[in-house]
C-alpha cells in the first residue's frame, strides 16, 4: 500500500519560472516530511523538511507547504534553474514508525533553458 504518492511522474518548466511538485499522503499520523533530490546514478540527497506543526518552510529558492487537512505536501522552486533538473522524492514518517520514512514514487523535473 503506497502511503505517500506523487501522481505526476514528470514535469517540465521553463528556466526562471516556478516549479511546483506535489505529494499526497494517506496516513494522518505522519508528522514529519522531507523532500529529496536525486540525480541519475546517484543517491538521493536531502533538500528540505517540514514538521507537522508548521505549514510552510523556506530555504532559499525552495519552499515546502503542508496542508494537513488535505494530506497534501508541495515543493515550490523559484526561480527554477537547469541544475534543478532531477527526480524529486517526498518522504514522510510518524512518531510510531521510528525513523522509518515512506517514500513517494518520485517526480522527474526538467528545467528547460
Amino acid at each position: 500500500d503506497q502511503q505517500v504518492k506523487q501522481n505526476s511522474p514528470s514535469l517540465s518548466v521553463q528556466e526562471g519560472r516556478i516549479s511546483i511538485l506535489n505529494c499526497d499522503y494517506t496516513n494522518s499520523m505522519f508528522d514529519y516530511f522531507l523532500w529529496y533530490k536525486k540525480y541519475p546514478a546517484e543517491g538521493p540527497t536531502f533538500l528540505i523538511s517540514i514538521s507537522s506543526i508548521k505549514d510552510k518552510n523556506e530555504d532559499g529558492r525552495f519552499t515546502v507547504f503542508l496542508n494537513k487537512s488535505a494530506k497534501h505536501l508541495s515543493l515550490h522552486i523559484v526561480p527554477s534553474q537547469p541544475g534543478d533538473s532531477a527526480v524529486y522524492f517526498c518522504a514522510a514518517k510518524s512518531f510510531n514508525t521510528g525513523n522509518q520514512f515512506y517514500f513517494g514514487t518520485g517526480t522527474s523535473l526538467t528545467v528547460i533553458p
Partner: protein
C-alpha cells in the same frame, strides 16, 4: 564527518547467480541502516532495515536477504538472482531519532541478464 560507502557502482549478473552488495558507514556509531531499491518507473522501496548488529527487519518478501555482521557494515545478498531483481539499490543510514532523514550512498545499478 560521516560518510557512507557503497559498492560496486554497477553490476551485471546472470539469472541464477549469487549477489553480494556491501555498504559501510564511517564517522558514526550505532546507526540505523537501510537497503532500498528503485526499480524502473517506481519509487524507493524499503527492503531491509537494521537497528543493530544482527538485527534485520524485512519489509518485502523476496529472494534477497540482508546481514549486519558489524555495527557499520550492511550487506545485501541473494543466493539466486531473478530478472525482477534488476534495479538501483541504495544503502542509507540515519542517526536514531534524527529528524533529518537518511544519508544515502551512491547506489549500485544491478542488471540481471
Amino acid at each position: 564527518s560521516q560518510t557512507i560507502h557503497q559498492w560496486p557502482a554497477t553490476l551485471v549478473q546472470p539469472v541464477g547467480s549469487p549477489l553480494s552488495l556491501e555498504c559501510t558507514v564511517e564517522g558514526t556509531s550505532n546507526p540505523n541502516l537501510y537497503w532500498y531499491r528503485q526499480a524502473a518507473g517506481r519509487g524507493l522501496q524499503l527492503l531491509f532495515y537494521s537497528v543493530g548488529i544482527g538485527q534485520i527487519s524485512s519489509e518485502v518478501p523476496q529472494n534477497l536477504s540482508a546481514s549486519r555482521p558489524q555495527d557499520r557494515q550492511f550487506i545485501l545478498s541473494s543466493k539466486k538472482l531473478l530478472l525482477s531483481d534488476s534495479g538501483f539499490y541504495l544503502c542509507a543510514w540515519s542517526v536514531r531519532r534524527d529528524h533529518y532523514g537518511y544519508t544515502f550512498g551512491s547506489g549500485t545499478r544491478l542488471t540481471v541478464v
